[in-house]
Symmetry: C2
Subunit: 309 residues, 2 copies
């Protein structure tokens, strides 16, 4: 274990991969590992990228990673793909993308998938980011598919959150509700060679003008064509300027505090459930009670009371 | 309380609304309510509808609800919008949609939003569906924005899951990863007057041909133009035929069991955390520890150990 920790802190990709698997699986090993690496975190810039499926997030992330790599940085990419709980799709996707990005010790890419019913994906993702940070990756990009609650939470833990849109969501930009607007520090209109860019931009500007940000930051709107590597430098400049802004801003502390509180709560929730289920027979009893609920012989609230007693 | 329960079981919309607020807030009242209504559930057909933002889910849900209403059914709609944790957007949206659907005791619409950090959105949504079921709504439609983990779980608790796509996701249909494919019992290509319908359909068929369903169901692909009410009858027929199929299928029991297990686990997780935080001083101590974590003076795993002791 202490050998693994040393290698992670030295930035060895294989050990980083093993460490991330460990936090995905959870348990005591993961806790020991995270305690050991925690003090070495806080140096990386963590960039969260979210947006609807089909917005071209993966291409954008790959090109942004290449941009940083070409500038001499080490880049970690964590893809959160909670929609694939059963399939090996995530792993296959990583291999395809690694082929694009080049097998290179300066770029590390990893998909996180949920393991079984116990959740913990958000916690594992945040831990994976911390491992990459401790391993000396100076930019860590967290890419989330979808705009669900967990994804929003994960993106909020980043230093800077990028929301990706595409033209032609025109009528439906309302679907990108206020919440996602509130988390975006930088907005990207990708596929900017498509029709309707101007309209999407106008609508986005109108929506942003209604938003109240406690830090008074005015989120820039960047146009990109990720497949042609266009606009990537603008994006990287916008990210850097938000990071600079945050550093000189009081609300940065509030944000860090809120993130820590959320992270602690997630961890606590997971741990409490794991502790309960590890007691003799509780897991089996849960299955029996679930069967009774399925047959409408028992309601779930009474079942919970029995399990807690 | 027993008056509220009687009115809910009699199907009074205002009492249903109050009951749903109660389960959103959680706590002992909610538990008492759910225990009381649980035995009256199981009659409604629960239809989960998910897909990317911009796919036109709301229009589709509204038109499907009108279709059922015109057929003499009582319809409940629960919209899960986890991306708007802070804004009043959800409530405003309900009012606009109620104006479209008509203020009518046979159509009930309610948006669920996450309340604070303690989560419980999935649990509250499933409870709201059970309340509508017990109140005699024969069709309950659960609409989720996005494709996050919670949304997938929520849609899985439905009797039939509908995944909505739009043409022009062409290159990016891969983004609708295998996981979302696995949960779809019926697929809809909405906005079917747009270019690229055939291509989207072919790609979807190709993807579906790779999927392994334990129940051997072959998910139909329905084309709709929700804004013009086109294809809504086809959709309703596809939903009905899957419900019939399920009824005669052994795997239905496995599904019900898995749903019950998930629901019980969610409830347990929420309850364990609430119990811990309700102890004297624990909430405050959690805030203090979060501040220490934010300052890198403490790692979250050690903080959890302190709180659990």
């Amino acid at each position: 274990m202490s050998e693994l920790i040393d290698k992670v802190l030295a930035g060895a990709p294989r050990s980083v991969a093993r460490a991330i698997t460990m936090v995905e699986n959870g348990g005591a090993d993961a806790a020991g590992l995270m305690k050991a690496v925690f003090r070495s975190t806080g140096k990386a810039t963590v960039i969260g990228i979210t947006g609807a499926p089909g917005a071209g997030k993966s291409s954008l992330v790959d090109k942004l990673a290449l941009h940083y790599k070409d500038a001499g940085e080490r880049v970690g990419i964590v893809c959160v793909d909670p929609s694939s709980p059963f399939s090996g799709g995530a792993i296959l996707g990583d291999r395809i993308r690694m082929a694009t990005l080049g097998l290179d010790k300066n770029v590390f890419i990893r998909s996180m998938a949920t393991r079984g019913n116990l959740g913990g994906l958000s916690r594992a993702t945040v831990d994976a980011v911390a491992i990459l940070d401790a391993a000396g990756y100076s930019k860590v990009i967290v890419e989330t598919v979808g705009v669900g609650q967990d994804e929003v939470e994960i993106v909020k833990t980043a230093d800077v959150s990028v929301v990706v849109l595409v033209p032609g969501m025109g009528d439906d930009i309302q679907a990108i509700k206020a919440g996602i607007m509130e988390i975006g520090d930088v907005f990207v209109i990708n596929k900017a060679d498509r029709e309707g860019v101007l309209r999407t931009q106008k609508e986005l500007e109108a929506l942003l003008s209604l938003a109240h940000r406690p830090d008074m930051w005015n989120p820039p709107i960047i146009k990109t064509i990720a497949t042609e590597s266009k606009g990537i430098e603008d994006l990287s400049a916008a990210v850097a300027s938000y990071v600079d802004f945050q550093r000189s801003n009081e609300s940065a502390l509030d944000r860090r505090h809120a993130i820590a509180r959320w992270r602690l709560t997630e961890l606590l929730r997971e741990r409490l459930l794991a502790d309960l289920l590890s007691r003799n027979g509780t897991g089996e009893r849960l299955n029996e009670l679930a069967a009774e609920i399925a047959d409408k012989r028992l309601d779930p609230y009474s079942a919970v009371e029995e399990l807690i007693q």
